[in-house]
Symmetry: C2
Subunit: 336 residues, 2 copies
């Protein structure tokens, strides 16, 4: 059964019917006699017919495909989101492309080109935010898209689903401050990213409320890739930097920070209190009880898909989606 694939034409020849009839029968159109329909379907199964989506898509203009462009699937946060998006997509008969950008602007540009070239019906993207050009380009091209996890505050035209980053940053910091930590190290993500900026806003609000000053040297930007944090924390410890609490931009960074603290013989939360963001532990049972900010990855993924589907199905709609999913504090043993 090797060789060329079975096409509608092959079925048509065999059945002595027109290609068109075959096509319509397989799609359960009402205007084909039930008997004929059954006949054709059986034949198709017999001959192992598998449609060619390429051809169909070329004609219909729809690929039933969504591109998901994220910075790093190896980060469980994104792994979980991708899984959830895939699940929702499947329910609606969509397939997803996953493209990694490593938060690199050029890779993001290429990812977008690829997605458009492949005629995806929509794009869910966690933008690297070096500039708005890539996203503007998307918009100009008319591909439905929605940002996830990050937003451009000055661009109300871009739909997004994010979690309440400011509140998350506030809750995390407030908790540390209230536990008595007056010098809280903030291991933040790249400052160009909205979530980093907004979590920092929260950090500031908590300090303001407590009447604590913001110490510039306690705000540190760490790279997003695995391993970067280790370097930074190691250095801080060597310098005997003065802090007792750590608020990390995400759980992966928090883990890495604790990892280094442990290496130096420090104990958490006894010597340092540490809190992360993403609450990965709700989905992956890691034996380190990290306090964190829950951001409902499941809900975010689902909303993003819903929005994309809405935009695909109502291309004329001018509705704007600016969704902010609530964040909550989840206390575990890494803070007290």
């Amino acid at each position: 059964m090797e060789g060329r694939k079975v096409t509608l034409r092959d079925l048509a020849m065999k059945a002595g019917l027109s290609v068109n009839t075959i096509s319509r029968a397989l799609k359960d159109k009402e205007d084909i006699a039930p008997a004929t329909r059954k006949l054709i379907k059986d034949l198709a199964k017999d001959m192992g017919y598998i449609g060619n989506a390429l051809a169909g898509s070329l004609r219909s203009g729809l690929t039933k495909t969504i591109a998901v462009i994220v910075s790093d699937v190896a980060n469980p946060h994104f792994g979980i989101m991708v899984k959830d998006i895939d699940k929702t997509a499947r329910k609606h008969n969509y397939t997803i492309f996953v493209i990694n950008t490593e938060d690199d602007y050029d890779m993001e540009e290429r990812a977008i080109f690829t997605a458009i070239r492949k005629n995806v019906d929509g794009i869910i993207i966690c933008p690297s935010q070096r500039s708005t050009d890539n996203i503007r380009f998307l918009q100009k091209n008319g591909v439905p898209f929605v940002l996830i996890g990050r937003r451009f505050k000055d661009e109300p035209e871009f739909d997004y689903v994010i979690c309440d980053d400011e509140k998350g940053g506030y809750l995390a910091t407030k908790h540390l401050v209230e536990s008595g930590h007056r010098r809280v190290l903030f291991l933040n993500g790249p400052n160009r990213i909205s979530s980093a900026q907004e979590r920092f806003e929260g950090y500031k609000r908590a300090h303001d409320e407590a009447g604590l000053p913001i110490e510039e040297d306690l705000i540190i930007e760490v790279g997003a890739s695995a391993g970067d944090t280790k370097q930074v924390v190691r250095q801080l410890i060597e310098q005997k930097a003065d802090f007792t609490g750590i608020f990390a931009f995400n759980d992966v960074i928090a883990w890495e920070a604790v990892y280094v603290l442990h290496k130096y013989g420090y104990r958490v939360p006894d010597d340092y209190a540490v809190i992360g963001f993403d609450n990965i532990q709700s989905r992956l049972f890691i034996p380190f009880q990290l306090s964190s900010i829950s951001n409902s990855k499941g809900k975010m993924s689902k909303r993003a898909m819903d929005i994309i589907l809405h935009k695909i199905n109502h291309p004329e709609s001018k509705e704007r989606f600016h969704e902010v999913i609530d964040t909550t504090l989840v206390l575990r043993e890494s803070t007290k």
Copy 2:
């Protein structure tokens, strides 16, 4: 600039040239006057032309796309592999589809259909192994494919890249046994999976060498999905099951087991020694020092892509790829 996408035809109209000339110019064919070429390229950039891969693929029969079918991207093990595969793919100008099966046979079947319908050039699949039918189907359809992480021992026709599971199982168990644990609980994956079977072989070999019997009640199959392990371990503890060492099928299961042990106030490695498999900690710095078996995810991913590319580029080659990547013991503090 909204609306329909720019096509070769649009460029042709604008330039007063034929579609063909445009196409050839954009592909840098020698037989177009350099001046014309430049003109056309500038125009294309101006009008924001992005080729339609669908149309091209329909013609050429190639999509420059690889499907990656795995059980769970949310498991960092797969997340990391997907990332690595994507990286290699990109280097060769390929894009990847990621499809999750949750190790469900029907979802796997649908995933394969989807991949074929979308005309992927090749498939990298971690098969669910409920039966060989799905894979046989792939073979019958002539799509190049390679198994990753699992194999069918009775099907030498299927190419695969796995790690040395037997050796890994042996090393892990041997280490526990040599540390004085005479009753080692094996939290294994589903037995239909080759890696589970082979790791068990290793477990047995270590026992044989040490002259220890295999106790049936210490071999427990846990579901692959997050949360399953908790239930199992909780029950064992409640039953006061007799064991002091735990060898887990993978790190995620190991983490979950430790998670529960901690909940019950037990300490690792003092009360129980625990070792996992996959060595996720080489890529994600989790602050729990889990001993594990390293299986070179990077190497596996790379080899899988190389093999797929080879098969795509040499469809006639009858070469068979049965690759077994070495596994090694990585000791950390969860065993002593």
